[in-house]
């Protein structure tokens, strides 16, 4: 199976005042279609930076990101929207739902931008939200939902376009351990069902157990990549 994502000697430097911070230093990584990759590391180790650059939200100082054979630095910012709609779904630690929209509307938002009709949109979103256990929360606004519920809406939003890759930055960072497990089970089930690629950032060792491979980050560098033994995942 060919790699869906190729990261070649990624380096990212931030300049604050006169000081230069190296957030990423020469990161090389290949990710296969359908793989679940976990990026693990302490705070400030450059996990989010790596994720954002891989998703094309930030430009690397050096190196290149190739997704499905397309070099991201060659895609114009203007055309990134189409690219994101097709290839990428995002889940954030703080859910990032649009406060004025209901669960259903939030979940359908990517389809609105893709120009999908309202009937088709609502049908798909309902199915997904019901699958995520939110059948009775369709018309609630984010403020009327718990963190776990909000994150499930965010997962529906990330998956609704059927993107090739799902990026998740500490998706359970704000949730208790019971809810975390529920969410993780759901997410992994949905991703594996459709053979989607999942890249998840976490600093939680336990969560890393779910992943096919774990990328250990220390001070902007990949220190180690560990592969989960087949028996771990039942």
């Amino acid at each position: 199976m060919g790699s869906i994502i190729r990261l070649k000697s990624l380096t990212k430097k931030y300049k604050i005042g006169g000081e230069v911070i190296t957030a990423l230093n020469n990161v090389n990584l290949e990710i296969a279609q359908g793989e679940f990759i976990c990026i693990l590391g302490t705070s400030g180790s450059g996990k989010t930076t790596l994720l954002n650059i891989t998703a094309g939200l930030e430009r690397p100082t050096k190196g290149s990101v190739i997704i499905n054979g397309v070099e991201l630095s060659k895609v114009k910012e203007k055309d990134m929207a189409v690219f994101r709609r097709k290839y990428m779904g995002f889940i954030f630690q703080s859910y990032n739902l649009i406060p004025s929209l209901t669960a259903l509307e939030n979940a359908t938002l990517p389809l609105i931008f893709s120009g999908v009709g309202i009937k088709e949109r609502n049908k798909r979103a309902k199915e997904l939200l019901v699958e995520l256990g939110l059948g009775n929360r369709l018309f609630n606004k984010p403020t009327q939902m718990s963190g776990g519920q909000q994150q499930r809406v965010a997962i529906a939003r990330a998956l609704i376009n059927n993107p090739e890759i799902i990026f998740a930055d500490e998706p359970t960072g704000n949730l208790d351990s019971k809810t975390t497990n529920e969410i993780m089970e759901l997410l992994i089930k949905l991703v594996k069902e459709k053979n989607r690629t999942l890249i998840m950032v976490t600093h939680d060792l336990e969560l890393a157990q779910y992943a096919d491979r774990v990328v250990h980050m220390v001070d902007g560098e990949v220190k180690k990549i560990s592969v989960r033994e087949e028996t771990d995942y039942a």
Binding site: T48, N52, L57, E58, K78, A81, V82, R84, R85, G89, F90, F92, Q93, S94, N96, I98, P99, S100, L101, L109, P110, I112, F113, S114, G115, G117, I118, R157, A158, N161
Partner: protein, 455 residues
Amino acid sequence: MNKLDLLRLANKNLWRRKGRTILTMIGVFIGTSSIVIMLSLGIGIKENQRRDLERWGSLNIIRVYSGVRFDDQGNPLGEANQLDDNAVNEIKQMEGVVGVSPAYEFGGEASWGRKRGYIQLIGVDPSQLENLEVSISEGRLFTPTDRYCIVVGSQVINNFMDERAMRRGIYIPPTNTDPKEMLNQRIAVTVQNSWGEKGQKKVFNFQVVGIMDEKNMERSMEAYASIEDIKKMRDFMLKVSNNYPQQGIMAGGRNSNSQARKSSQKQEENYSFIIVRTKDVAYTKKVSQALRDAGYNAYSIADALEGIEQSSKIIQAIFGGIGGITLLVAAIGITNTMVMSIYERTREIGIMKVIGASFADIRTMFLAEAGLIGFMGGGAGLLFSYLASYFINKLAVNYINMGMPMEEGAVKISIISPWLALFAIGFSILIGLISGLYPANRAIKLSPIKAIRNE
């Protein structure tokens, strides 16, 4: 992104900050109201002047005379074109001309029953009567087959006085006369010529078949007859014995001039004037200019409109300008609101970009919000303007129309034409969109990463 989804989303976003949105709309509301009310006053002034003009004659009628032409400053330009059948045909071909009739004019002594007086007869082509806006309030129009039938203006009756009263030397100016009294009466018109020593007299009898309605003053003193009949009267009148000089020409006087004397036979064939009816006022101006350019002597009430329209344009520009300043302030208000809104929604915009909103999506979304503010504010402003206009006119009836005759109809000093209404809505939307341009571009430039990173 689907247009309807976009409008719904924009509308939803708008009402998240009800207070601020409404305040911004009030700005547009005031701006639109002041522009519409100001312009409606301008239109009202123009319409009133136009109505005043129309009282003197139809704006769609041109009369073409013979004789010497003058330019705007009153300097003579030389002899105008001859008014013969060629001229009639030429005018018929002109664009915007609906009806053309040659006319002979004859004025003379007349009597009916015991009344005596004076009548001004105009002979026209009977088939063109309706085209020439001759309309009847009582009776009927005469047809091409009718002989010696006339329709009279509503004031014609006032030119007649009771014979006995006159003989007794009492002059009673006619009052409370009813034009209908003349209907179906026989009018005897006496014509005299210069044939022989004393000349000859002949009486022509006309039957009044219709009374013209009193739409304009120009025609109220006139009576219309078939051109054939009037030509017969003229021919009789112009019959001159060879040893006498021409005398007693009461009609076609404008035709006579020394230089054309030699061809007097031909001159007599010429019409007194030609009546031209155009499609509308715009054509009246065009056709009468074209006629003058072609060397005719053309007059129309619409000629006076030019100056009126010029001055009303200036009034409208001033009024519109005052309203425009208000709307400019409102536009700045929209921009301000949108910039604030974008600042508040930085994060949301970033998220939308991350989940696949294109630049165009973001731009249209914010332009739609700004446009909606313009549309709603402008719509409310327009509604209010209708209300204000109604009350202004109501007040005007009490103050300005006092002492005016009832049938004149209420003078409206504020008129909101459909075009003005359409313009108001369109313009307020446009103002919204323009005001939204800068904020929308700012939203586009927002980096999604900045929005997401500020967790």
